[in-house]
């Protein structure tokens, strides 16, 4: 080829690469509950490795906050919440594709205490002098808070503890307050406690009225529905389940 034609050919190839590149490389926005932060960071990277060119962007917050965003048209592709109630509301609002809804993990609610604080043996002990502040996710917008509130209501301790309860924006903030010692005790998931295991101690498992289940689904308005479905399938796959298990999540029977 003569020099002039060669240059035009190279330019054409570059243009083609630049124009077609976005079509093949997609960015997946995954709205996930705060307690999934660490686990989903790993899963996101694994998914990117298996799908070169695609990116996974994590949007973390309390499940209800994520639901609000979806209802207002936030461009998320996948929604993973920390309880069925929130996913049910998403379904009712037609924000998710219900055919893609799957349960992918379970968790345990625990009561943790800050370092140096006496470990209570029963929830009733929270009424004692050593627990001035007890961190709990705000039950109006945080599933962990709802589970904890239900447990306290069932144990008839809810009203008595009102002045000690510090409602937080998400379960990780509750964990942080206990880790700092600002709250002497708090309600978080076993997986959260593991993340800060050198600063907090698990006092006891809190039995919940309904088991803690994490559902995941593709959003109705997703612009990358196919890729999003593949992400959901990946999350329920054996490899991903093993990764979740390493963080302390329990697996759910399919």
């Amino acid at each position: 080829m003569q020099a002039f034609h060669r240059r035009r050919f190279v330019a054409l190839c570059l243009a083609a690469a630049l124009i077609t590149a976005p079509v093949f490389a997609a960015e997946l926005t995954v709205s996930a509950a705060s307690s999934l932060a660490n686990a989903f960071a790993d899963l996101g990277k694994a998914f990117e490795a298996a799908h070169p060119g695609d990116k996974v962007v994590l949007n973390l917050a309390a499940s209800d906050v994520l639901l609000r965003q979806l209802e207002q048209g936030a461009p998320a592709d996948v929604f993973a919440s920390a309880d069925e109630v929130t996913m049910d509301r998403a379904a009712a609002a037609k924000s998710i594709d219900t055919t893609t809804r799957r349960d992918f993990a379970g968790n345990t609610l625990v009561l943790i205490v800050a370092a140096g604080i006496k470990v209570p043996e029963a929830l009733e002990e929270l009424n004692g002098a050593g627990y001035a502040h007890v961190a709990i996710g705000n039950p109006e917008s945080v599933p962990a808070g709802r589970y904890a509130k239900q447990a306290l209501v069932d144990a008839k301790l809810w009203d008595g503890l009102q002045t000690r309860l510090v409602p937080t924006q998400n379960v990780r903030q509750a964990l942080d307050y206990v880790a700092r010692g600002e709250a002497q005790a708090g309600f978080v998931y076993a997986t959260d406690a593991a993340v800060q295991k050198d600063k907090v101690r698990v006092a006891l498992n809190v039995p919940t009225a309904t088991p803690v289940r994490y559902p995941i689904a593709v959003t109705a308005a997703s612009a990358h529905a196919q890729l999003a479905s593949r992400f959901v399938e990946f999350v329920v796959s054996t490899d991903a389940q093993a990764a979740l298990g390493r963080y302390g999540f329990t697996s759910v029977a399919p």
Partner: protein
């Protein structure tokens, strides 16, 4: 957990008023200390003191949490010597709002003091007055309008303080949940009706404050 709409309003007024008073006291003090002269040291000092204006509120909140928390430099001292905790209290909210509002008063006050005719302060000195007397009898009476304008700005800022307050005082209904926090919680909980009510109250409050500001600043214009 939610309380009526009156509680966040009263709490907001209490916190904002206390924060403004605190910020005005320190703002005037530091503005006087910075004085008229410009030097590298004074400019650096003013920049540091103005940081809360520029820092993202959550960064400010984080640093306050670290310093005022029970393991922090100031927090542990307060706890050991006075048994005082500031985290999760309305007093903590006052401190967060005061620090956020302080730079507004500092700048307004310094500008107002500099605007006072220097020869008036010099005349007071020739008449035998020491510096504090010069400040209280000449500078401050002539600069009060500028200081007040800064204080009103500070009050508005304190009323709207959200990020730093959320981190160190939390959003405890009836105790630290100011209007701004209450609106946020209502929206996150999907309670749009409550959010709307609180927003209307905030709007009315803002208009009232602006009207009062206009009257206070206009009265003595020749």
């Amino acid at each position: 957990m939610p309380v009526g709409a009156l509680t966040p309003l009263l709490l907001t007024l209490k916190v904002a008023l206390c924060a403004t008073l605190l910020a005005t006291l320190f703002g005037v003090l530091f503005a006087r200390m910075l004085g008229r002269k410009r030097s590298v040291t004074r400019d650096v000092a003013e920049s540091v003191l103005t940081l809360p204006l520029v820092l993202p509120p959550t960064v400010l909140g984080y640093y306050l949490l670290v310093v005022l928390g029970r393991n922090g430099a100031i927090g542990s001292w307060l706890l050991d010597h006075f048994g005082i905790t500031l985290i999760f209290t309305w007093q903590g909210a006052v401190i967060a709002a005061a620090i956020a509002a302080f730079p507004l008063i500092l700048r307004s006050a310094r500008a107002a003091f500099t605007d006072v005719d220097r020869s008036l302060e010099q005349a007071a000195r020739t008449l035998g007055l020491r510096e504090p007397a010069v400040f209280f009898r000449v500078t401050l009476p002539l600069a009060w309008r500028g200081v007040l304008a800064g204080a009103l700005l500070a009050f508005a800022r304190a009323m709207g303080e959200f990020g730093a307050t959320l981190m160190i005082a939390g959003s405890l209904p009836g105790r630290t949940q100011t209007l701004a926090l209450a609106i946020y919680d209502a929206v996150m909980a999907g309670d749009d009706a409550r959010a709307a009510t609180l927003v209307w109250i905030s709007l009315l409050l803002a208009i009232v404050v602006l009207l009062i500001a206009a009257r206070l600043l206009q009265r003595h214009t020749p």
